[in-house]
């Protein structure tokens, strides 16, 4: 069954494919998702990102493309699941905690970039 979201490996492949749409095949590197083992990526934005990669790939001045995925808000809230296992690997006791993480904002990637086209919706919109 196909859900309304894109599989993580498929997402990465789509980005790389989109970078080949110009006159010259260009490399596209996806960063920021390395710690994810599985993920369903929002389809609507996957399409927009493919378009963005293609737009840059078609620019003759551009040699390679990077897609960096960072938290939209520079603070992310996580659950930490602390589990204790017996000698057979069966979980015996779990403690749930929360851990909030502060991140650098997108400015660290944009400060030396002259042309910025912000296609993001306001926070809270799709």
């Amino acid at each position: 069954m196909k859900l309304m979201h894109t599989k993580l490996p498929e997402f990465i492949k789509k980005m790389k494919d989109a970078a080949t749409k110009g006159e010259k095949v260009k490399e596209c590197n996806v960063v920021g998702l390395e710690s994810l083992k599985t993920a369903k990526m929002q389809s609507l934005r996957t399409g927009r990102l493919e378009q963005a990669v293609e737009d840059l790939a078609k620019d003759a001045r551009i040699d390679s493309v990077e897609v960096a995925v960072i938290p939209r808000r520079p603070e992310s809230m996580h659950s930490a699941i602390v589990r204790g296992f017996d000698k057979d690997g069966k979980p015996l006791h779990a403690i749930l905690e929360t851990i909030n993480i502060l991140h650098p904002t997108e400015d660290v990637l944009l400060h030396d970039c002259e042309e910025i086209d912000d296609r993001r919706p306001p926070i809270g919109d799709h």
């Binding site: 808000r73 520079p74 603070e75 809230m77 909030n100 502060l102 991140h103 650098p104 904002t105 400015d107 660290v108 400060h111 926070i123």
Partner: protein, 340 residues
């Protein structure tokens, strides 16, 4: 063309501590004199600083609380973080909330009884409004590499991950050209920071999440290590003593009205004021004990001192700050001006 004055501690080494980003302190009076909004003033100053910076603005005619719930003569009005000369539009700037006096407020937050007793002619400015923040949990602003957290009392470099703690009482000293202690935060302050009070618009924790007498840390022996390695610029002990004495003289009981931090407890002992043990939790006792402040220590029959004597001997009485060095504000703060 006006000139806006501001104070700066530049990024880099300050004696043997690292200031991980540029620290900017601004007086709201100077901003008003230049006919600027608070945001405009922060933008103008940020534009002069190419690297990461935290910007704090003060209303020295207002009052607020520190993390112990002790009230002070001065408050932050806004905080900002900037990098590459700019403040991030979504996450880089936040204003603080002014509270109106009400009986309900005093009933819910009894430490604010100090307000009318000690600072009745001042407006009360607390932390930011949680509903207006784009950063959901922390009272923080972020731009690029710069982070300014806990309502402008800890600043961090988000790439090197280095941090500095700036208790508000120390920042007020810098604004007044007083003396400050520079050193390491150490175990005692690391525990003391956790002894918070319940505040709806708390500068550190909103929504009255933690009751006075408890610890926000709740991490036992681990609490003393949470911040101990971080450099700190704190008020000199005599100045801190004055604030704590004022709170205690206003009838505040440690562990019942104000946080039972080591600093508060140390002053209270010499004023023969006992903490409210019944209102304090086992978790808070455990954390205090882990840095030497046992119930027996709290009940020890120490010398009764006058307030003047406590202030004079504050360095010996109030614990905290590892390897402290005392500086005049003018020795570490540069005065600068920007054309506006």
């Amino acid at each position: 063309m006006n000139r806006l004055k501001y104070r700066v501690i530049p990024e880099g080494m300050l004696d043997d501590i690292l200031v991980p980003l540029t620290i900017v302190l601004i007086d709201y009076e100077d901003v008003k004199a230049c006919n600027l909004t608070m945001r405009e003033a922060c933008d103008k100053i940020a534009a002069t600083i190419p690297g990461p910076a935290g910007l704090n603005m003060f209303d020295m005619t207002a009052t607020t609380t520190n993390s112990d719930g002790v009230m002070l003569d001065g408050s932050m009005t806004c905080m900002a973080a900037s990098d590459y000369g700019k403040i991030n539009n979504e996450f880089g700037y936040l204003e603080m909330v002014e509270l109106d006096y009400s009986d309900e407020l005093i009933q819910e937050e009894p430490h604010l009884k100090q307000w009318k007793i000690n600072f009745g002619d001042r407006k009360l400015i607390m932390g930011p409004d949680p509903k207006k923040k784009n950063i959901p949990i922390h009272n923080a602003v972020l731009t690029g590499r710069a982070g300014n957290n806990n309502s402008a009392t800890e600043m961090m470099h988000c790439i090197t991950m280095e941090e500095i703690i700036l208790p508000i009482s120390g920042q007020l000293q810098l604004m007044r050209d007083g003396d400050v202690e520079v050193g390491g935060t150490g175990w005692i302050i690391s525990v003391g920071i956790g002894m918070v009070v319940a505040e709806e618009y708390g500068r550190i924790v909103p929504h009255r999440q933690f009751k006075v007498g408890d610890t926000a840390h709740k991490s036992g022996e681990y609490a003393k290590f949470l911040k101990s390695h971080i450099p700190i610029i704190a008020a000199c002990k005599s100045d801190l003593a004055k604030y704590i004495i004022k709170a205690l003289e206003a009838g505040m009981i440690p562990g019942k009205d104000i946080g039972a931090s080591p600093a508060v407890l140390a002053v209270a002992r010499h004023m023969k004021i006992k903490p409210d043990f019944d209102n304090m939790t086992k978790a808070s006792f455990d954390e205090l004990k882990s840095v030497g402040f046992t119930k027996e220590w709290m009940l020890e029959n120490v010398e009764a001192l006058t307030t003047d004597e406590i202030i004079a001997r504050a360095d010996e009485i109030i614990p905290g700050v590892d390897q402290p060095k005392t500086y005049k504000a003018s020795d570490i703060v540069q005065i600068k001006y920007v054309e506006v």
